[in-house]
Structures are given as C-alpha cells and as structure tokens.
C-alpha cells in the first residue's frame, strides 16, 4: 500500500465514499458478472470499513480513490478464492483486473453499463430506482428508504427481488447494442428524472438525503452525456433541465428554511454557473430532429433562467411551451402548470378558469399544489375569503415541512384579508 500522506480534514472530497462505492461496485460487478453483484458489494463495503479502520490512525492516502479500489479488488479476489464455483475464473480475473490507474473513461463505461442493468425495462419500476441508488449511487438501504419515505425492510426486499430477477433473466452489465439503445436509454432517463424530481420537491426540507437525489441525478446524467455511446440530444436535454432547475435551489428557501415563490426569489442567488452549463447542454440537445418532453421542459426552465424578474418573463412563450409539452406528454400536472403560466400571461381569472376545468381530475385529488395555486390566484384577484378556503384545503393534502410552512404563511396572509 502506498505511504499515507499527512491526514487532513479537507483531504476527503465530499461524497468520496459514496461515489467511489458506486464506481467500484460497477467495475467489480462488470468483471464478475451480474449474478455476483452481492459479492462485488461485499468487497466494496469491506474496503470502506478498512478505510474507516486505518485512515484515522495512518492518515488519508494520497490517492484515496485508488487506495479504496485496490483494497476492494484484493478483497473480491479473496472472496472468489473461497467460492468453489468461481475458482476457475480466478486466473482470468487476476489478469483482467488492473492494479490501479483506472482511467476516467473506463469508470464511466462501468457506471454506464451498470445504469443500464439497474434500469432494465423488465425490472419492476420501484426496483430500478432502488437498485440504481444502491449500486451506481452508493446510497445505503436506510438512506434510500429515507429518500422515498419507505421502510428500510421494504427497500431491502425490493433490492433482493430485483437482484434475483437479474440472475434469473441473466441481465448483463453492458452498454446495449445500438439497435436497442434507444428504448433502454429511455428507461434510464426515466429513473434519473424521477430521482431529480423527488429531490427537488424535498430541497430545503429537513430530509437532507432526499435533497441529495438532485445532485446524484445530475451526476449520473453527466456520465451519460460524457460517454460517446449515450451522447444524444435526449440526454443533453434532461441534463439541461436538471441543471437549470437546480440553479434555482439556492434561492428557493429563505434563511429560516421557508419556501419562496418565484416572484420572491433573489435571482442574484441563482447559481449562474449551473445556468450557463444548462444552456450549453440545451444547445447540444438541439442538434437532432427529435423533440422529447425533456427538451420542452428544459426550454421552460431556460425561459425562467434568462428572465430578469417575474414581470419581464416571457409568459406567453411559456404557455406555448406547455401546450407543446401537453401534446407530447398529456398529464393533469402539466395542465396545472400551464394554467399557472396562463394566469401570469392573461391574468388570474384566466388561470382560475383553466384550473377549474381540471379540478375534478382524480389524479390531482391529493395534489396540494392545485388548491395552493387557486389560493394564490384568488388572493391576487382580491378575494381573501376564497383564498382562505383553498389554502385550508391545500393544508389537508400531503406535502413537505417547508411546503406546509409556506401554506400556513399564505393562509395567515389571506385571513388578514
């Protein structure tokens, strides 16, 4: 083992263990085959424990990632030696596993191949999400449970079932052939989009793990965008969408952790680095003829990102984009967002009329944003009594703690009339 450098509190990059775990599991499992995913995970976990046992005394190695990988690799070889069924593959594995010096691109390929396995369309939807976070993301079972407000046992069960299915159906850890890449990629993007939205909804809340989902979804989408096999417009548009949305996160809550409306946000606090990055990817996304819902959503996010304030935002353009989005992906939630944009373009009464048309949709029956939007629009129209009614209704529906505080604040405002 290489000599340890003097230990330093800052020597560890944020999320080093989590990201290294994802990379190492992907790499080892790709060598061992998807049927030995558990063995790869065990070897990696052991390497992390070894780091925890030695670094406090010896200091952080000069290349922590390479150190971890080397230990995990040795541990995997140890575990294989004990496994009679695998012993025949040992020579192959020993020669095929380089000591260290793994190139960035190779790691990207491993993670990419692993993402495709985790998001395989024949796996149940919930299993894909849990598996992606566990194996590529390096999240723990308890963290995944916390992120999805589920019981750890339920998540563990999901993982066991998904892995069994992978073994039985012999789903390989590989980048799909070009002829099936499109459909397989769609399933990967689906999972990343969901991870991001879960995290976005929770940002600023007490649940920090949930907020981490945003960063993880962006990290994984960036791996896709960097890789020549998946460097396609749909990937860039999803990445653009996530970067542009994430740019607003620093301004989305005030110092007390309370949610701020778009109109209340200090736009100087938007992350302009992320906006620039998002715009670059939006440009890459425009290279093909294909228009995905991600393209349109990214264009909506971009319209907000370039506006100086709410008043100078091009609302008619945003309404138009929502029409495009509805044509591609009809959904009552998109209808609701269109109605809110319409209220900005044509006035609150037009927005209220549009919301009333979708109010009875069962898909929105538990969605707090519908009555919350009505409350806001009635308040703008100068009808605090109606606003109060809708805010009360919104508070009966499930939402995060910061969202709840926001609704209570709005309710108090309407009660004061």
């Amino acid at each position: 083992m290489e000599p340890a450098a003097p230990s330093d509190v800052d020597a560890l990059v944020e999320h080093l263990f989590r990201h290294s775990a994802g990379q190492m599991v992907s790499r080892l499992a790709r060598w061992l085959g998807s049927a030995r995913l558990d063995l790869a995970e065990e070897a990696v976990q052991d390497a992390l424990v070894r780091a925890l046992q030695t670094w406090p005394f010896g200091g952080v190695p000069t290349e922590p990632g390479a150190w971890l990988f080397q230990v995990a690799r040795h541990r995997a070889l140890d575990l294989i030696r004990r496994d009679v069924a695998l012993r025949g593959k040992l020579d192959l594995l020993e020669s095929a596993t380089p000591e260290a010096g793994v190139r960035e691109q190779e790691l990207g390929n491993d993670e990419l191949a692993m993402m495709f396995m985790c998001c395989h369309p024949s796996l149940p939807h919930a299993g894909r999400i849990a598996l992606t976070l566990k194996t590529v993301g390096g999240f723990g079972v308890a963290e995944i449970a916390a992120a999805f407000l589920a019981e750890p046992d339920a998540i563990a069960q999901r993982l066991v079932r998904a892995k069994r299915q992978i073994r039985e159906q012999e789903i390989a850890i590989e980048i799909p052939r070009p002829d099936e890449l499109g459909a397989r990629l769609e399933s990967v993007l689906d999972v990343l989009y969901l991870l991001f939205n879960e995290g976005y909804a929770a940002h600023g809340g007490e649940n920090l793990v949930r907020a981490d989902l945003c960063g993880e979804a962006i990290r994984l989408a960036a791996i896709l965008a960097r890789n020549p096999a998946t460097d396609v417009p749909a990937v860039h548009s999803l990445l653009a969408l996530m970067l542009l949305q994430a740019s607003r996160l620093p301004a989305r809550v005030d110092e007390a952790g309370d949610l701020l409306l778009l109109s209340e946000q200090d736009r100087a606090r938007w992350d302009h680095g992320l906006i620039a990055e998002g715009m670059d990817h939006l440009e890459c996304a425009a290279s093909g003829s294909e228009v995905t819902p991600y393209h349109v959503e990214a264009a909506i996010a971009a319209a907000h990102a370039v506006a100086r304030d709410e008043a100078s935002t091009n609302w008619p353009w945003i309404v138009h984009l929502y029409d495009d989005l509805l044509a591609l992906k009809p959904s009552p939630v998109v209808e609701l967002n269109r109605a809110i944009a319409l209220a900005m373009a044509d006035g609150p009464a037009a927005g209220i009329a549009a919301i009333e048309r979708i109010e009875a949709d069962p898909a929105l029956a538990r969605y707090y944003l519908l009555p919350a939007a009505l409350g806001g629009l009635w308040l703008k129209l100068g009808d605090p009594i109606r606003a109060t009614y809708h805010y009360r209704e919104a508070l009966t529906r499930s939402c995060s703690a910061p969202e709840r505080r926001f609704l209570e604040k709005q309710l108090a405002k309407s009660c004061r009339g």
């Binding site: 560890l12 976990q45 424990v49 046992q53 406090p56 005394f57 390096g138 723990g140």
Partner: protein, 114 residues
Amino acid sequence: MAKFLVLARGTGQAYANRSPQEMQQVVQKYMAWTAGLRDAGRMIHSERLKADGRVVRGSAGKMTVTDGPFAESKEVIGGFWLLEASSYEEVQAFLKDHPHLEAGTLEVRQIWDM
C-alpha cells in the same frame, strides 16, 4: 510535558453495516480530531494495528508462539496515538469529544519518563 499513549479499543467493525456516506462522516470526525491535536503541536505519532497477532510464551528456554490474542472484537486494540500533554486531566480534555467513543473505548497510559 509528559507523553501519553492512547489505546483505541474496538476495531470499527461496528460501522460495517453503515452506508458509504456515513462511514466517510466517521472518518472525517477522526481526521478532525487528529488535525486538532496536530495543530496544537501535541501529536507525536499514531499507528493502526492489524487484527491478527502472535502471543509468545516461554519458560526454561522453551518458547511457544500461538496466534492471538483473541479478545472480543470490542476489546481488541485497533490502534494508538502517542501524544504530549501536561497531565491526565489535559488528556481527558482532548478525549472529551473523541469520535472513537461512539464505537469503542479509549485507554490512556502515561509513558514513564526515565
């Protein structure tokens, strides 16, 4: 200024089922403690001990060597820090918020200065 040996009992195996993120947080707490001691100019040396060892016994010229010691994992000495302090009280002040106490115990011995 006297020298003190701080023996860490417990191997960290207690953290084996934690998530990577949690394990990194544990490591960072140790690093922060060590850095604090080094910045104060009190750290002399530290080492991690391997889990396996040998016990050597002998009488009348006959030496026997056995594997061991096999203590319970929470009793095994996982590593040590050698540090400088003016008194046991000061060492205790250093150890007050030591991250090792979350998963093991610390034994402090003063080095006998001849």
